[in-house]
């Protein structure tokens, strides 16, 4: 027995020594990734393509408190870099718009020349000087074929419409109360053929609790489109009483019931889920995430792994060793409950993650995942996380007063992080961003979109960085297969085809699915062109589910090209 006791003691001391002097986590590190094996090339070419944009943001509070809040301004000014892809001149080439938030700073609209370069034309469209813009959403609210623009700002959202000279003019300012927001989604929730709005705010206040705050700016609000871009507040559909901090609203048919469920990425609390009922109203169903450990949702980006499965919903969260160890989540309905598989899929760790985007970068038939990250990059020696020790453990009352927070000033708060590029391989996702030297300057990424620069099926990536230069990554990856793209034109459904689901049946029997919700993700608008990588396979048939319930079929479409699908032109099912 004595021998056994001694043996146990020795085992314990060895274990303790290992704990102290050996990095256990090295054992679980994935081996170095060979970038060549993936043949992925995303090259930062903003100068080459004539894009030169630096996002600016400077807040000015009321005189009496501006000085007091000076130290926290880097925090308040950290949420507004966005990017929107839109074919603003309807020439078939994707353009993009990037607002600059600081009052008096110029927003940029880059028009695609079709020759691999852009020209800046914001002034021509009267989009250069906007009132502290945060995020723009271009959508056709009157179904006339011309995109209107919803602009969220540091105050109330504003709706703009093109005039006869092609310039955007303010037509409606949403009424108070409203606050700074990156969280909106535009979709036809009542399926009446007009695009409606759902908006929530983040605001410029601090939370009163890190995981269960209840002093946010409010809940999700619906504005119903009465036609001709007249919006009225619709309070009966979503009666949310809780005051939450919302960064993003995602729309997804999360239970494959042909409904448009809402997922609200919520900071300092549980993310919220609203299931759409058969009468198009919503019921809150957060309890399914009740034991979720991550309470800092930043964006919502759904994708379909394959046609037969339920969509997975990626929610970007904060991952910071020593402080926030849960990371991103990937929720999938299994027929009974939602299961998080981010860790198993290898996508849970990506720093303080913001924007997320599923796109097939190498056309191998598997959507890859790009995630922007980094909160505030200041002096790397001066870490705000460790400074939080002093004031973070406090009562709600104390914490909710921003004067009690330590000044952020020039500290780093999950800054200098490299954005992630998770390649989707048969063995799961692999982060190759370091191997391909993606985001080598480690900027503070926010909104994130893909754009087909040359209409050749190779998707380039644009990352809007907070108070930093915009990065344009040209996709120079040799294609691993075919691709196909679609542009939707609704007739009785909304003209932009938002909410439409496209199913591709491939010749090998596989099905690929995408649902067109361009405002999912964080502070970004995706292209209206819906892209599929196909790998070596041809498409046998395309099935389109329009939002009004019409299902149509197209047979043997041409590969490696974009197609316009007009509602009513296919074979009705």
């Amino acid at each position: 027995m004595n021998f056994f006791r001694k043996l146990l003691s020795i085992f314990f001391y060895i274990f303790l020594m290992l704990v102290l002097f050996f990095n256990f986590e090295d054992l679980f590190q994935k081996p170095e990734v060979d970038a060549k094996a993936f043949k992925l090339s995303l090259k930062e070419v903003s100068q080459e393509v004539n894009v030169d944009f630096v996002h600016e943001n400077r807040l000015q509070f009321r005189k009496e408190i501006d000085n007091l809040l000076q130290g926290l301004k880097p925090f308040y000014e950290a949420f507004s870099a966005s990017v929107s892809v839109v074919d603003i001149n309807q020439d078939g080439w994707s353009d993009f718009f990037v607002p600059s938030t600081k009052r008096g700073s110029r927003s940029h609209l880059y028009i695609n020349t079709g020759h691999g370069r852009f020209v800046e034309k914001a002034r021509d469209y009267a989009l250069d000087l906007l009132p502290e813009p945060v995020r723009a959403g271009f959508f056709d609210c009157d179904n006339d074929g011309e995109p209107e623009m919803l602009l969220t700002t540091n105050h109330c959202p504003i709706l703009y419409k093109k005039d006869s000279l092609g310039q955007y003019k303010k037509i409606y300012k949403f009424p108070e109360p409203c606050q700074m927001s990156t969280a909106f989604n535009i979709f036809d929730y009542n399926r009446d053929g007009y695009l409606d709005l759902s908006v929530a705010a983040f605001s410029h206040i601090v939370p009163n609790n890190w995981h269960n705050s209840n002093n946010g700016p409010g809940g999700v609000v619906f504005y119903k489109n009465e036609g001709q871009c007249r919006f009225s507040r619709d309070t009966k559909d979503l009666n949310e009483r809780n005051r939450r901090f919302t960064h993003a609203i995602g729309v997804v048919d999360s239970r494959n019931k042909e409904r448009q469920d809402l997922w609200a990425a919520t900071d300092f609390n549980l993310d919220r889920i609203f299931f759409q009922k058969d009468d198009d109203s919503y019921e809150q169903a957060d309890e399914i995430l009740y034991n979720s450990k991550a309470h800092n949702g930043m964006s919502v980006e759904p994708y379909y792994l394959s046609g037969d499965s339920y969509p997975s919903v990626f929610i970007s969260q904060v991952y910071q060793p020593r402080y926030a160890v849960t990371g991103n989540q990937l929720w999938t309905f299994d027929g009974h409950k939602f299961v998080d598989s981010a860790k198993e899929q290898g996508v849970n760790k990506c720093g303080w993650a913001w924007g997320a985007l599923f796109e097939d970068l190498n056309n191998d038939g598997r959507p890859d995942l790009i995630v922007s990250n980094g909160f505030i990059s200041g002096d790397p020696q001066n870490q705000y996380w460790s400074m939080m020790n002093r004031f973070a453990p406090s009562s709600r009352r104390y914490l909710s007063n921003s004067i009690n927070w330590r000044p952020v000033n020039n500290t780093t708060w999950s800054g200098h992080e490299r954005d992630c590029v998770f390649m989707n391989t048969p063995k799961g996702f692999v982060n190759v961003s370091e191997a391909i030297d993606f985001d080598k300057d480690k900027l503070d990424g926010r909104g994130l979109v893909s754009i087909d620069l040359l209409n050749n099926g190779k998707l380039s990536v644009i990352v809007a960085n907070q108070k930093q230069k915009l990065n344009f990554y040209k996709n120079e990856t040799p294609s691993e297969g075919h691709w196909i793209g679609f542009r939707l034109i609704g007739k009785t459904s909304n003209r932009d085809g938002i909410g439409t689901k496209i199913k591709l049946k491939l010749e090998n029997g596989n099905t690929l699915v995408r649902a067109h919700y361009p405002f999912n993700g964080y502070s970004a608008q995706k292209s209206s062109k819906i892209h599929f990588g196909l790998g070596p396979y041809k498409v046998a048939e395309v099935i389109v589910h329009w939002t009004n319930g019409l299902q149509e079929k197209y047979l043997n479409p041409k590969l490696d090209a974009y197609h316009s699908l007009e509602e009513g032109q296919g074979v009705a099912l």
Partner: protein, 279 residues
Amino acid sequence: MKGISITIPKLSDPRFIFLMFTFCFLGYILFLPGYGRSASEYLFLMSLCLFFDFFLRGIMDGKWVFPLSGLVSAFGLFMICDVSSPIYYIPMAILAMGSKFFIKIKSRHIFNPTTFGVVFTSLAFPSAVSPTGLLRWDGNLFMSLFIFICGLLMVIKVNRWAVSASYYLTAVAVATPLSFFIHENPYTYLHSLMWEGIVVYTFFNLTDPKTSPHKLKYQLLYGASIAVLTQFFRTFDMRLPEHKALLIACFLYAAIDIYIRDKEKIEVWKVREVSIGGR
């Protein structure tokens, strides 16, 4: 056939007060959305701590004792640490309960098992274990008051009120002038002292009768030294300042006790023996 005799603490054991409080509080936090932990996770950690406490004592001390310490430690570990996967509860439980049986001076364990488990597991697995789980407390002043009252009952019962009082008074006395030097709002630390996590720490972790001093004067010194060390660590923005201070104080006290022999007069709580099996 010879049966096994299990030692069960009597109800007068002050750890039962802690357990009563534990179960009240456990119910509260499991229904608190921000806490983000499930009852099954707690049961898993509790089973591990009970297992290691029961069998390690059986093997190392030759006694089969109802693992009340394991129960108490499981709660402490569960409250303080966020883990990315429940698998990390295994090394946490091994370190916490192992410290009790393998790190001893004069046949007495020197570290509070919860504190030891928290500090060393978070050092070993920084990407997977985070003590910021502490921040999941609700920040509710009424809850702080409830914990304060429960804690007060317990420290009076175990005769360790001087440790808590000394800690509080010294913390205020040191933090207030210090705040001027480090440019901190002097109320910040006072608010932290009223926060639920610190109240639990002050009344339940600091006053572990097995690892804290017995005599009043040593208790006062012990509480004060932990408060000073905590302030020192806070000034340099170290993680887990309170727990690191407690570990150091426990070690120093155990080392000094070789000479001052304070622990020789330590109280022993009544137990009863129950035989299982045998004829």
